[in-house]
Amino acid sequence: MGRSMFRLLFRKMRHHLPQLTGMGLLVMVGTAFFVTLYTIYLSYDDHANRLFRNQHYADVTFYGSFDDNDVAAVTAHENIRLARGRFVRDFREGDVTLRAISLTDGVNTLYLYEGMIPAASDECAVISRHAQARGIELGDTILVDGRELRVTAIIASPEYVYLSQNERALMAEPDRFGVVYVAEGFFKSAYTEIVALGDISKEAADEIGEVIGAARTVVQDNQLNKVLFTSDLKQIRTCAYIFPLIFVLLIIMIVYVMTKRTITLERRQIGVCKAIGVAGGSLLFLYMAQTSFIAFLGAILGCVAAALLCDTIIGLFSTMFEVPGLAYVFYPALCGCVILAFMALGALSVLVSVRSMLKPMPAEMMRPRMPSSGRKVLLERAAFIWRRLSFNTRYALKSALRNKGRFMAVLLGICGSCALLTFALGIFNSAEYTQKAYFDDFANYDVLIEISPMPLEISHPVREHLGEINRALALPVNIRGDDYRLFVVEDGFDMQRIDTRLIEDGVVIPEYFAQKWDVEAGDTLMIDDTAVKVAGVFEQGFGLSLYTGYEYAKEVIPDFPPVYNVIFARGADPGELHALSLEQGFDFSTLDDDKTSLASVMESLNTLIWFMLACAVILGLTVLYSVGQMNLSAREYEYMFMGVMGYSLKSIISAYIKEMVMQLFLALPAGFELGYGILRAVKTAFSGDSFVLSIAIYSESYVYAAIIVIMMSALNAVISCSYISRLDIAEGLKVINE
């Protein structure tokens, strides 16, 4: 490849600057989006796993009431390296719930941001997000269980990457929930948990749990904290793939249309090059290198943008999770692969469109092309409609449909942009809808009180302070290797909208579980070792649990205890309950707490949604502008000639706008449909055992998406119309003659 070809390469690029810039911008945004999210994914995965490893995140946790003998029994197991007993208890101080956890040596150790690990029983270490939210500093004193504790350390914990209070408060508000680690001397009761390290399977852990009489055994992968971590990783990775995929499709389309047009325009030049002995490969290089070079530049800029964006996005994500040291990390292999992939994409898109150029002999390339035979457009065949249209409208329709490549590129651009806008707004709507569906329609209680198991015939003292109540037994169950919660509820249970008639005949399960386990009403499901009938399936988006009645539970579960450990209540005063909880020793959470917690999860999605909306707008503007420029350069002679024929500027612009309206008319519904389709496709990535995204796109979101796309098209039309109005008839005709 001589330097003449390189010279030609760069000089030719000047002619396609708007299109190449558009393509470069798409590559840049696509790269920035992908590299940002994928870097966060890799960095988060890397940092979090390092935290889990370095701070010895427990491989298994046993819940119940234990003593040192139990700890010794766990330690004695061949697969357990280390086991420690600890105390965990929630205390309410005003509107703040503090979870006090006794320190364990060698398991779930603390990551120190500052200070020293508490040594005395009047000292504590506070988790950093709570400390920040409440303005707690080293040396401050905080109240836990009525006792004053001096803060000796601000820490992060491998088990609280997510500040999860429980299954309903997945991400608690840091100013209303905090975790404090205290020295063992703080508690004067039996251990409530045993945390252990070891290479142990779920089955083996369950066996140990049985031996020590654990109420619940949870391996690391099933810990709420770890489940949220895994699910977030999946979501970030899924998002990283979706947008660039649409960008890639549009890049292919733009490059294809641009190159096809270039080849048509430069047909004679290509023939000359062939005539003087330039080989097909060199000509191919000439066109492939243009797009590859732009893809290279775009991808490099995208990587730079990602480097600038990453820390900001990580900062925004920090409302969801806390991993010490999580920051932008340059992954050369990732950037290299993305750059190469986009370069290859640019080159391959060109290859597809220029294959036709390689075959003909030079003489054929140098002959003028046969004019394409004008064919009737589809609407033209409907003569009764076609006849009624004005000449201007007929011209607009025929013009739009004349070049299928350009037409499809515009449609795809509008459609893609509209789809991404619909998708981004749809995620927002779906999250809101899921929240609304649970709190307004499904949950019908004010507080949920967790007590020690109590026989059904005995009323808990707190009952006197509550309005309407329903009692239930919350049982940890194992289904196909994973832990779930089964509520055995009283007859007439109406605190959650499930069909109480069905629970007499079996277990009712959320739709998400039914799909996950591939069961439906009437099927049999193994819960622990018991075969139960699936009596019904219902929609639940949050706090997913299984439900059955006491009668059925007695029927199928051997030695089923007729006790309750949960009270759902309406008409309770949280302030009064707080005082009672301290006095009577129970835990409670209000629906409002859960609502606030979920709202903060939804808020964290906003960051991603704004990022996606911005990308959708860039995508739309870029495609519309670059294809619009191609259209203009292909048709400027035509517009000038219309001017020569006496057409007014108004008529020309009117035809142009009619064409644009038709494109919008066709592409917007397709965009809505595609956006909805993408949302459905990624639903699983945004759903898990604790939270299921219900798909919903509100009509106003469609309207917003349409308005944004129409505004982008209008902006492009203004630019185009201004260009058309500046066309010089005489100059234009001269150019064509040359």
Partner: protein, 234 residues
């Protein structure tokens, strides 16, 4: 050995009702080192013949032997190689690459043939355009562009120069100048030149004139005393 030997050469375009027989059973022998004019009216097949001789197109049937080698049997790659090393083209509409300046337009050809930029500059000097080397085609007159086109064709020192009506788009004075340049190259470098034209007057400067009509060769005549370009008028 003949430069070219054409045996039963035919070229058709299109098919069915739109079939055009551009060349019909052409037999011809062209000796080396000659200034040959192919004369004929529009549509007589002279440009098609030139395309076949330059490996710019494949015949429908027949053979073209170049110095005894059958170039119609060449692969595409070999044809490209043949054009690159052996043939120089001059077209009626110059066909310079608008993105390259005069010397770069010549250089693209010398590069192909493994020659240097100095060769390109030398070729440009031969056609008297050294001072316009940095000008782009859009900044050159028609005659200047055609001279750059000639420089591009001769810079790689081809055995044959194929000229397709190179004076067709030029005014008389410029046309004469182009003819003089070509004659000079023929004379000084010994390059065989095949010159397509419809002008009887231009045919008078040739050593050999091939007359064509409707895709057939009517006759081939030798011109024992060709005129100098300055003696021609049209």
């Amino acid at each position: 050995m003949n430069l070219y030997t054409l045996k039963a050469l035919s070229k058709n375009y299109g098919e069915g009702e739109s079939l055009v027989r551009a060349l019909r059973d052409v037999h011809l022998e062209i000796p080396p080192g000659k200034f040959v004019v192919v004369l004929g009216a529009s549509g007589s097949g002279k440009s098609t013949l030139l395309n076949m001789l330059g490996c710019m197109d494949r015949p429908t049937s027949g053979q073209i032997l170049f110095e005894g080698a059958d170039i119609t049997a060449y692969s595409k790659r070999r044809m490209t190689q043949f054009r690159k090393t052996t043939i120089g083209f001059v077209f009626q509409s110059y066909n310079l690459l608008p993105d390259l300046n005069a010397v770069e337009n010549v250089e693209i050809s010398t590069e192909m043939a493994g020659l240097t930029r100095a060769d390109a500059e030398h070729a440009l000097a031969l056609v008297g355009l050294s001072d316009r080397a940095k000008h782009f085609p859009g900044q050159l007159s028609g005659g200047e562009q055609q001279r750059v086109s000639i420089a591009r064709a001769i810079a790689k020192r081809p055995k044959v120069l194929l000229c397709d009506e190179p004076t067709g788009a030029l005014d008389f004075e410029t046309g004469i100048m182009i003819l003089e340049v070509l004659k000079q190259i023929h004379r000084e470098q010994g390059t065989s030149i095949l010159f397509v034209t419809h002008s009887l007057e231009i045919a008078m400067i040739a050593d050999m004139v091939i007359r064509m009509r409707s895709g057939e060769i009517i006759n081939v005549t030798e011109n024992p005393e060709p005129l100098a370009p300055s003696e021609v008028e049209w």
